[in-house]
């Protein structure tokens, strides 16, 4: 699904990713953990194509395609979804329109007609139930006036509607209380399937109590310095990152 080789990214003039390599097969959930400033969000933004994140080396193959050659919107239309750590508010553009426009953009790329209005609303209502969201959210501006938790639920709602092939969730757990975390985790878990890969970027192990990863990677100083099974997350929770950083040095 996703094959990253020796990826190097600068932001401004600062080197952030420095030879990062990672393989994420379809059907798996991978967690990327690491200390502050290690490059976790940079990895997510680089894969999603955010301007200002300049790739200076390496390659990224997504479903056999050169991901880096695609514009951000083309990446999304081909099934890549980024769940933002800080979802932006866009007053004046309503949620339901964004959902529908995004879904239709992906359908158009696949040569499908625009979604039928009734089917669309049925789909959205079903997903909103999973996310325990009130229908009034739909008519509001994108994330306008939402609490931190509501914004994160909205990100997952979008993901459930769009059914991406590859979901990159950047610190989706940050700012969530335990009940909201369970709802968000449940939403993510409903998306698990053999055709889909999920990459969770997180600081803490607690999200992984609810979304069981197949692999855990530690990102530090711009590269993956350790990979392992779910037990690695527990070890990090117990021991922190310093021992790994010392080993890597």
């Amino acid at each position: 699904m996703l094959s990253i080789k020796d990826l190097r990214t600068t932001v401004g003039n600062r080197k952030v990713l420095d030879g990062l390599s990672l393989q994420v097969p379809a059907g798996e959930v991978h967690a990327i953990m690491g200390p502050n400033g290690s490059g976790k969000s940079t990895l997510a933004y680089t894969l999603a194509g955010r301007p200002g994140y300049e790739v200076t080396g390496g390659s990224v193959s997504y479903r056999g395609q050169d991901l880096l050659a695609l514009e951000p919107e083309a990446r999304a239309q081909r099934g890549l979804f980024l769940g933002f750590q800080y979802p932006v508010e866009i007053p004046g553009v309503n949620n339901v329109y964004l959902l529908k426009a995004a879904l239709n953009a992906a359908r158009k790329q696949r040569g499908l007609p625009e979604v039928d209005a009734f089917e669309f609303l049925t789909l959205v209502r079903e997903k909103m139930k999973i996310m325990q969201m009130d229908e009034s959210f739909l008519s509001r501006g994108v994330n306008e006036g939402f609490s931190g938790g509501e914004k994160k639920r909205n990100e997952i709602l979008q993901m459930l509607v769009l059914e991406p092939s590859l979901a990159l969730l950047d610190e989706t757990d940050s700012g969530l209380d335990i009940d909201a975390l369970k709802v968000v985790a449940n939403g993510v878990n409903t998306l698990r399937s053999p055709e889909r890969a999920i990459v969770l970027v997180t600081h803490y192990q607690r999200l992984l109590d609810y979304i069981k990863p197949d692999r855990v990677h530690v990102l530090a100083r711009g590269k993956i310095i350790r990979s392992g099974g779910p037990e690695l997350a527990q070890e990090l929770e117990a021991r922190g990152y310093d021992w790994l950083l010392t080993d890597a040095a």
Binding site: A48, G49, R50, P51, E71, P72, E73, A76, Q77, F81, L82, F84, P87, V88, I90, P91, G92, V93, N94, N95, V96, Y97, L98, K100, A101, A102, A105, A106, Q109, A117, L138, S139, G141, V142, Q158, L162
Partner: protein, 387 residues
């Protein structure tokens, strides 16, 4: 009848710095003759659908195309005498020109505690000096829609004058939609006199047209009068949209909320100069200004200028003015959802002006305007309705 023997305002005049009057510099301003029956029929067929519950008047080249009695006043009101003409301040130049050259005046009156809803369509095919005078008696209510529609694709000059006296505790909602033709030179002067306890809401949208200039004088003459002025202007190509709005708070407790949202695309120039004056005779006045412009073209220009002139300590005043580009975070968010860049930009521009558009309280008008904005901002209607 001849034009004024003084020159037009120039960029050297304080409140005309950003106005583009080059297209008017050699104009003669002689008004066009009354429309022929054939013209009348042609124009009538091209007008937008009437709005339920609103009386309709149509002004073509300054003449009122209506059989309704009691609304027309032919001829000209008193003007400044020729001996003082040379001293007319630049801001009132076009108003004076209108007073001298207007053909007819549309007079709209609302009696005490009565309500009216009126739509006035203004059409220019040549050179005209349309005039609308509004008078609301005590406790009266008027919802007035003033629409300028792009019937002509030729070079057209419109010099409009609108005046309104809003009586004690009266309510005026004035929705002004200027969607003029590509070669239109549109100049207008608005005068509002607000009596005690009155409420006035102006919603103004300017699109199309080669040049537009609004000069407005608002006087809070009565205690506790309230004004909301919401304006949006969308410039494209080489268009120039400029406004100067002067609000004088002369009586205690006067309140003004002023909001402007402009988008300058292509090589256009969009500007708004909001001048708030609070006199010593207006303690406990309140003045809030929010003026924002979006630069959406590499060669576009935007100027917003909040001015506060305060002569009392007992005042609450705030102002904010920004000129910036599309928010890159918002743009990336939409792109990351697969929305094509052009649509994403349109959506964000729509979001920027929607706070003004949503103030239009007549649903049919709002829907019509949203639909018409589709040409400038594809996706606007859908963004609003979610359809």
């Amino acid at each position: 009848m001849s034009a004024l023997p003084v020159s037009l305002p120039t960029p050297r005049d304080e409140n005309w710095k950003y106005a583009n009057l080059r297209g008017l510099s050699r104009a003669r301003f002689d008004p066009s003759p009354p429309p022929s029956a054939e013209t009348l029929a042609r124009v009538t067929a091209a007008l937008p659908a009437p709005i339920d519950g609103f009386e309709r008047f149509v002004i073509i080249d300054g003449f009122i195309a209506s059989d309704a009695s009691g609304v027309k006043q032919s001829g000209n009101p008193p003007t400044t005498s020729s001996s003082t003409i040379g001293t007319i301040e630049a801001d009132r130049y076009f108003l004076e020109l209108n007073r001298r050259l207007r053909s007819e005046t549309l007079r709209l009156e609302v009696a005490r505690h009565q309500k009216r809803a009126v739509e006035v369509i203004v059409v220019s095919l040549g050179t005209s000096h349309p005039a609308i005078e509004v008078a609301l008696s005590e406790g009266a209510e008027l919802s007035l829609i003033e629409r300028h529609v792009p019937i002509s694709t030729d070079t057209v000059i419109t010099n409009l004058a609108v005046s309104a006296i809003v009586g004690p505790h009266a309510r005026l909602e004035l929705s002004r939609i200027a969607q003029t033709g590509a070669k239109t030179q549109h100049v207008e002067t608005i005068e509002l006199h607000l009596a005690e306890g009155s409420t006035t809401k102006v919603i103004q949208l300017t699109t199309g047209g080669a040049v537009s200039r609004t000069t407005a004088f608002v006087d809070h003459a009565g205690r506790e009068s309230t004004l909301e002025w919401h304006a949006a202007a969308l410039g494209e190509g080489t268009q120039s949209h400029d406004a100067y709005v002067r609000v004088a708070h002369s009586a205690p407790g006067a309140k003004t909320l002023q909001q402007f949202r402009g988008i300058a695309s292509g090589r256009s120039r969009v500007s708004f100069n909001g001048h708030m004056r609070v006199d010593a005779t207006s303690p406990n006045a309140q003045s809030d200004q929010s003026l924002k412009c979006l630069l959406a073209g590499p060669e576009a220009e935007a100027d917003v200028r909040p001015q506060l002139e305060i002569y009392t300590d007992a005042v609450k005043a705030s102002h904010g003015a920004t000129v910036g580009k599309l928010d890159p975070d918002m743009l990336f968010y939409l792109l990351s959802r697969g929305i094509p860049e052009e649509s994403a930009s349109s959506l964000l521009k729509w979001a920027f002006v929607s706070d003004v558009i949503r103030r239009l309280s007549t649903p049919a008008l709002r829907a019509d305007i949203e639909h018409s904005l589709e040409r400038v901002l594809p996706g606007a209607v859908a963004a609003r309705s979610g359809t």
